[in-house]
């Protein structure tokens, strides 16, 4: 059953060294209040699975935006992402040797998380064939030829926690995403042991039409009311 927790309680559940999926794309769809609290917590050694390192400079004048805060604070020891070019701090910490970064093609990244949540053994994609991705042993099970075409069998990805952001979240935990914010949160909510949703707006049960619920409440363990 989904439970309401404060942002402090949510962060208290996350131990040092946790593997954490964070929904969002360049900060858009990051659960910003949970990340703010996590940044203040002093915890670290996280493995973060997130499309990117977000960016310094948010759209509302933030100094560091979304997951960029955790990276800036040196709370992340390992980042699994698809693109980190917009956050120069990622490059600096890679060069220092303080941050390990693994880069995966974005479509494979999304699908590997989906596979982790849907009980599939992997993802057979033509993406990355003939590139150095073939050698990423941690993520690629094998190169397979099927009916004369080559594919990479990418491994499923799961995490201890998924931190996602929903625009409307009803009191049971059903989620509706606004604009382009559903991106990776939708699949991450299926692929982590504990799923914490930051609700921009908590709404009454029934307010989201049954056909328009995008993440059914059974995937959500905790709701943080991030509104107001």
């Amino acid at each position: 059953m989904t439970k309401f927790v404060s942002v402090k309680e949510a962060v208290a559940m996350i131990p040092d060294g946790a593997t954490i999926m964070v929904g969002g794309f360049m900060g858009c769809g990051n659960p910003h209040k949970i990340i703010d609290e996590l940044a203040k917590s002093g915890k670290g050694n996280f493995k973060i699975i997130c499309n990117d390192g977000a960016q310094p400079g948010g759209p509302m004048g933030e100094e560091n935006y979304g997951v960029a805060k955790l990276i800036h604070n040196h709370q992340v020891k390992h980042l699994v992402a698809t693109h980190v070019g917009l956050n120069p701090e990622v490059g600096r910490q890679m060069n220092d040797g303080t941050l390990k970064v693994d880069l995966i093609p974005q479509g494979s990244f999304a699908e590997m998380i989906r596979a982790g949540g849907a009980g599939l053994g992997g993802v057979l994609t033509p993406t990355g064939v003939g590139t150095i991705i073939e050698d990423y042993e941690d993520y690629v099970h094998s190169v397979q030829e099927i009916d004369g075409k080559k594919y990479l069998l990418m491994k499923p990805i799961r995490a201890d926690f998924a931190l996602i952001s929903g625009y409307k979240v009803d009191k049971l935990g059903n989620v509706w995403y606004k604009g382009s914010t559903s991106n990776f949160g939708l699949v991450m909510a299926t692929a982590a042991d504990k799923v914490i949703v930051e609700a921009d707006n908590v709404v009454e049960v029934g307010e989201i039409e049954p056909e328009n619920v995008r993440t059914p409440c059974i995937f959500v363990d905790y709701i943080v009311n991030g509104g107001g």
């Binding site: 698809t82 917009l86 479509g107 382009s180």
Partner: protein, 218 residues
Amino acid sequence: MDREQIKSFIIARAAGELKDGDIVNLGIGMPTMIPNFLPEDVRVTIQAENGLLGVIPCNDETRDAVYKVDAGATPVTVSTGGCYFDSCTSFGMIRGGHIDVTMLGALEVDEQGNISNWIIPGKRLPGMGGAMDLVIGAKRVIVTMEHTQKGAPKILKKCRLPLTALKCVDLIITEMGVIEVTENGLMLVEINPEFTVEQVQEATEAVLIISPDLKPMA
């Protein structure tokens, strides 16, 4: 031509490749500016791989803007009839061949249509983002780039940087000309009248086949 003129020239020519009704994905940089160069009777639908279809510029400077960005993290919105979806749906669309054209920049392209555009080992490691999926998934892959990098050819016999994908590029558009990737190699099909065929070949490592039907690039 200065850099800005070169860019405009390439973009204007690239815009001519789009047909009314096309579903297109435009990479960061030059391709993003293509919609400004389309004639009025060519309306395309722009897909952004982070989950938007029907992308249009956004003039909204309210908090609302934080919910809608394109693949370059620029606040945008969608036109009436556009829609939003998650990343799996988006890349299903891309990998499944539902995008007509993708236009993107490159560090190197070679005569087999291989492309390198995501990493310079030891120097720059931005990541591939959606590029590896886009170039193998879109029906047509068009590279828009300057012909050389500080005078060094970018159109090579064989890519030297780590590849983005094998044999996927259909067309290369630079300020010097338009080059088709054919089974026999790279064919110069249009040339900027400011250059001679010899000058284009000199700026190109790969051997160019000159189209018997070579046209001026405009």
